[in-house]
């Protein structure tokens, strides 16, 4: 039966990993197909005093889905049905295992899509998007996952089920649950908001002679009162790697490339593109192309979203970071990131959501080289430090998980953390739903467990 717990070595090995470099050793893994089966699994874990952890596709990069030793993994990939689509209300009820890109494919005949579009959208699940409050390039104008979730059916750590929505509680429990990284319970059905596909789209690829010029152009576009639907930057090394991989026509001689997309009604797109063109030339753009067809546009986005695949051509391993800084500090922090990588003798590439100030420096290395992991970890901590120093935050979309748990004290006071812990206690008083994530050790939680091997915090 589908509710059975699997304990064979291969499945446990897979269930012990996610998109991070860490590894956990779960007790067992089960694949429920209904809310009742999820409820049974949670009740079983509860009765045995075993912690449980929900899991989608395991694409998370911060170790949020790494199971605590001896816990039950509740893998939701078999709960992958779209239960209903209401084209009039522009909403749909989906199960947590539905893939992000599949939902938009299924709703395209209604002219609708699910707006959050993380780079992993071909393989990540909606349930995972809810757990991480995921972003993506188009969240610049559309907002992140939280802005697109209407209600949630949840199995609580107590084993009870309930619904969080805008009407049935005073506090916004729906909003509090989103981004709780699996620590407040398990969403078993999700009502998403769907948005109309834009009738007009202009996708521009702009080259700059320096990252600095590109970063200033980003700030200028926003300061001018234009909110593009996406505003992405790639530096020269990643642009070259991507171009060899997908042949999207990115400028190979540019030190920085911006992808600027503007969508909506006809005149706003025409006028907006014209203004963007004027602004970028004022800031020293060295090339400017506009995608003429949907095929060209798709190739540009394929290039942007498969950037991480292209890295494998350069070095066998990479570490992808995720911090946010105020837009006006982009140029400054990017040059600090370069200096940090040079100091630690690591190659670094940048491909990121510039319009949000959301940096994604990628450190590349070969982990077979002795001592390299120490340098990678030192550089990572430095990147976090300079981002916070610039007035930024720890994570824009990957979450805290295990990776940044112990950096939480760099951003928050003990009292700030205490109130986050209080919120968790209201949902999970016994701390059995994905324990020991997000909040640092000793911040009032009961958590003192060991860190899984492979983690570097």
């Amino acid at each position: 039966m589908s509710g059975a717990v699997h304990i064979n070595t291969a499945e446990l090995f897979l269930a012990g990993q996610d998109g991070s470099n860490m590894m956990g050793s779960p007790l067992g893994v089960c694949y429920p197909t209904t809310t009742a089966e999820v409820q049974n699994a949670v009740r079983w874990a509860r009765s045995k005093g075993v912690p449980f952890i929900a899991r989608g596709a395991g694409t998370g990069l911060a170790g949020g889905a790494i199971p605590e030793a001896g816990s039950l993994v509740i893998c939701l990939t078999k709960m992958n049905k779209i239960r209903s689509i209401d084209a009039n209300r522009r909403s749909a009820w989906v199960e947590p295992g539905v893939l992000n890109a599949d939902l938009s494919r299924q709703t395209s005949r209604e002219g609708l899509h699910f707006a959050p579009d993380p780079s992993s959208q071909q393989s990540c699940t909606i349930g995972g998007n809810v757990a991480n409050n995921s972003g993506g390039p188009h969240c610049l104008s559309e907002g992140v996952t939280s802005a697109h979730i209407l209600s949630l059916e949840v199995v609580l750590p107590s084993g009870e089920t309930c619904t969080f929505d805008a009407e049935t509680s005073l506090f916004d429990l729906r909003g509090a649950f989103i981004g709780s990284e699996g620590m407040f319970g398990i969403a078993t059905a999700i009502e998403v908001r769907l948005v109309q596909n834009p009738p007009h789209v202009a996708t521009m690829v702009v080259g700059f002679a320096s990252v600095h010029d590109g970063a200033l152009a980003v700030s200028a576009i926003i300061a001018h009162g234009i909110i593009p639907s996406a505003l992405e930057m790639m530096d020269a090394p990643i642009t070259r790697a991507v171009e060899e991989y997908v042949h999207a026509g990115f400028p190979l001689d540019a030190a920085a490339t911006l992808i600027v997309e503007i969508d909506g009604l006809e005149y706003s797109v025409i006028d907006g593109s014209r203004q963007i063109r004027e602004i970028v030339s004022l800031f020293g753009a060295t090339s400017f192309q506009v995608a003429e067809t949907a095929v060209e546009r798709a190739r540009i986005w394929k290039g942007r979203k498969t950037a991480f695949g292209a890295i494998a051509r350069i070095q066998p391993n990479y570490y992808l970071h995720d911090t946010v800084v105020p837009r006006k500090k982009l140029a400054e922090v990017l040059s600090q990131v370069t200096a940090i990588a040079t100091q630690e003798q690591l190659q670094v590439m940048n491909v990121f959501h510039a319009g949000d100030g959301n940096l994604h420096p990628i450190l590349m290395f070969d982990k077979r080289v002795a001592g390299v992991m120490d340098r990678v970890h030192r550089a990572g901590a430095e990147i976090v430090r300079v981002s916070l120093e610039a007035g930024g935050v720890l994570s824009g979309e990957h979450g805290i998980g295990l990776e940044k748990r112990d950096f939480m004290r760099w951003m928050f006071t003990e009292n700030d953390l205490l109130f986050q812990q209080k919120l968790r206690s209201a949902f999970d008083p016994d701390g059995i739903s994905n324990p020991h994530k997000v909040l640092p050790r000793g911040s009032g939680c009961s958590d003192t467990a060991s860190i899984p091997p492979g983690s570097w915090i």
Binding site: S146, T163, D172, L173, D356, K404, F412, K422
Partner: protein
């Protein structure tokens, strides 16, 4: 050294001291909701007022929560920007009551526009949620919890919000025709679509030509001014009670944040959230 902790000065410190020693506190802005308690034993406290920082290029403003919205709007209009809250009461009041107003149907409603809150807790300590950037998943989303918390989780003293550029054109249209909503569905993402007493109101915003073109698609609609809404309409969510496990979680949150029922007892009682 990078922590959120900011020195907000004497006014906030005075409030912290008062809250630490008080037993019963009624948080009041301008009492635009009309639900503030008149019980005499309650100490009435209001957040300080004033704009702390405004950076138009970053599309972000930070204010003391007692600042009146019309004062903020004067500052914003000078830079051709706006915030999503309707123009009455204080910022703190709007945040605490999740006052989206007519822009409820728009995706960028209030909760998505509040980036950071600084709060005085029941013991007089200060805690902060969120950060001064537009995208942030650092820890649990206490900001979402505080927006619409009706003062039950502490006194919000500071709020950082997104601002947005003013659109070139803003035009309301209305129709009382039964098929009005069907007509509206032909449009591309109107800024607001709302039904008030049988009348469908739409707000169309953006480039002048686009707005004109969208209006030309509508049959039986007339141009109009922004409709006014009664406060009862805004605060209807006070009239029902949560049930079962949802109520247990709500009570759990209140108990964790305000164990001695210090803040806004009347509202807590009304919602069955006294612990």
């Amino acid at each position: 050294m990078f922590k959120n902790a900011v020195n907000f000065g004497g006014a906030v410190e005075d409030l912290q001291k008062k809250i630490a020693i008080s037993n019963s506190i009624n948080i009041v802005g301008t009492n635009s909701t009309g639900v503030a308690s008149n019980e005499s034993e309650d100490e009435k406290l209001k957040a300080p007022a004033g704009i702390i920082s405004y950076e138009p290029d970053e599309l972000m403003i930070s204010v003391f929560a007692g600042t009146e919205i019309h004062e903020v709007n004067i500052e914003l209009q000078a830079a051709q920007q706006r915030i999503v809250i309707p123009d009455w009461g204080t910022i703190g009041g709007a945040v605490a009551t999740r006052r989206n107003g007519l822009r409820e149907t728009h995706h960028q409603t209030l909760p998505n526009n509040v980036l950071r809150c600084t709060v005085i807790a029941a013991d007089g300590s200060l805690y902060q949620a969120g950060g001064q950037v537009v995208k942030n998943v650092s820890g649990f989303d206490l900001v979402k919890l505080l927006v619409g918390s009706w003062g039950l989780l502490g006194l919000i003293v500071e709020v950082t919000m997104r601002t947005e550029p003013l659109p070139q054109v803003s035009q309301w249209v209305k129709s009382a025709h039964p098929q009005a909503r069907e007509q509206a569905s032909k449009l591309y993402r109107p800024a607001v679509e709302t039904l008030i007493e049988g009348v469908t109101y739409l707000l169309l915003e953006g480039h002048q030509n686009d707005v004109e073109q969208q209006i030309s698609l509508l049959k039986g609609f007339a141009l109009c001014e922004m409709p006014s809404l009664s406060h009862q309409y805004q605060y209807q969510n006070l009239n029902f009670l949560s049930q079962g496990p949802v109520r247990s979680i709500e009570r759990g949150i209140r108990k964790q944040f305000d164990p001695t029922n210090k803040f806004n007892k009347k509202i807590a009682a009304q919602r069955n959230l006294l612990t």
